[in-house]
């Protein structure tokens, strides 16, 4: 039976990962597809998974009363969606909605957290990769915050 291992191996997030560790992670992985317009996760929901986007477009949204849903960022092929599974209380802070049909690999949070406790090498590899993703995301978000195209008056 074909496993997800080769698919994970070719995803940029797992580049250069030791195949033995990758095998462990594959045990927590499932293939998922979201229809255009479908919500992948909702604010306040249980953050049980994170996703490696293979193909598609996902919008991170937040709903403001009176303003409607505001898109904070869009994610695409090769991006990682979700990191709230990493830290308690394991809850989503935003909505994530598939803008077009999106194929992804879902990785189960609880499964991974357990395996990380057992195998610290796995834990470290995951942390390293997430730290990189998070810093990139924060830098990009900081630029958005600056509102550089806005009309600024002193």
């Amino acid at each position: 039976m074909q496993t997800l291992e080769p698919i994970l191996a070719e995803h940029p997030f797992f580049k250069n990962l030791d195949p033995k560790i990758l095998q462990v992670i594959t045990g927590c992985a499932t293939n998922v597809v979201f229809k255009a317009g479908e919500f992948i996760f909702r604010e306040e929901g249980d953050a049980q998974e994170f996703y490696l986007i293979r193909k598609g477009q996902v919008a991170l949204e937040i709903y403001a009363p009176g303003r409607g849903p505001i898109t904070l960022q869009t994610l695409h092929d090769g991006n990682i969606l979700g990191w709230s599974w990493l830290v308690p209380p394991y809850q989503w802070h935003f909505d994530a909605r598939a803008v077009e049909e999106t194929r992804a690999i879902a990785l189960n949070g609880r499964c991974l957290r357990t395996k990380c406790e057992e195998c610290h090498e796995l834990g470290y590899e995951l942390m390293k990769r997430f730290a990189f993703v998070v810093t990139q995301r924060i830098e990009a978000l900081t630029l958005q915050l600056l509102d550089v195209y806005g009309n600024h008056r002193s």
């Binding site: 505001i70 960022q73 077009e100 990009a140 550089v148």
Partner: protein, 290 residues
Amino acid sequence: MATTAVKEKPVSPVRAGEPMHPRPFKVLKNQPETHDTFTLELEPAEGPREFRFAPGQFNMLYVYGFGEVPISISGDPAEPGVLVHTIRAVGTVTRALERLKRGELVGVRGPFGTSWPVAEAQNQDLVIVAGGIGLAPLRPAMVQALAKRERFGKIVLLYGARTPDDLLYVRELEQWRSRLDLEILVTVDRALEAWRGNVGVVTTLFPRVSFDPFHALALVCGPEVMMRFAILELAKRGTPPEKTYLSMERNMKCGIGLCGHCQIGSTFVCKEGPVYRFDRVKGLFGKREL
């Protein structure tokens, strides 16, 4: 505005070429682009029918009774019969320009400044990175490159704006996007649900385009912060400062290098700029209040 006693002193007739004297141009069209940006199409009211310029250059636009502002030229260099300016209404003079109607006059001095070295990108990839109103001075470079498409490798346009409502030249962008020999990615800083495009800063677009950074020329224009990050991203990919050009902006009064206002370090932006090769001005970035 201060008032001044009008002295009836005889003045000599218009001397062609006096750089501080505006030439009258007639408004052909005033087209709103976004809530605060509009495009003027102008033609000379007298004298030579053509206005020749190079992409990246700017004019000093004068509104009778209000004053002057430096505005980049946004038209097609191959169509010198119409002078096009895309302007953001943020101050007294630009708001006065916004109110101009067909047939009214604008004073024009120029063209001044340095230009985008489009020809230098021949046989290489051309990467254009625009942020906000920064697309306006880059448009002539894009149009000029497309007119001689076969001379270039890949042509890529990365364009970031504040919101979808702030996008400029939407119809033209759609036309460009429908071409098979051009790659265009557009992103906005924030959007409502109706927007199905990208949301995120323009630097997030880089991983999604392919060009040969080692054989490319990059033209960058937008707010200074955005340009700094875009240039960093380009350098990370392998496009060096010597192959990256940007357009700087400073307060300008004369436009001809004599009033001192636009000076940064040892350069006058109206004379050696506004287009600079990045390695030549690298030392001016990251230094506060220079």
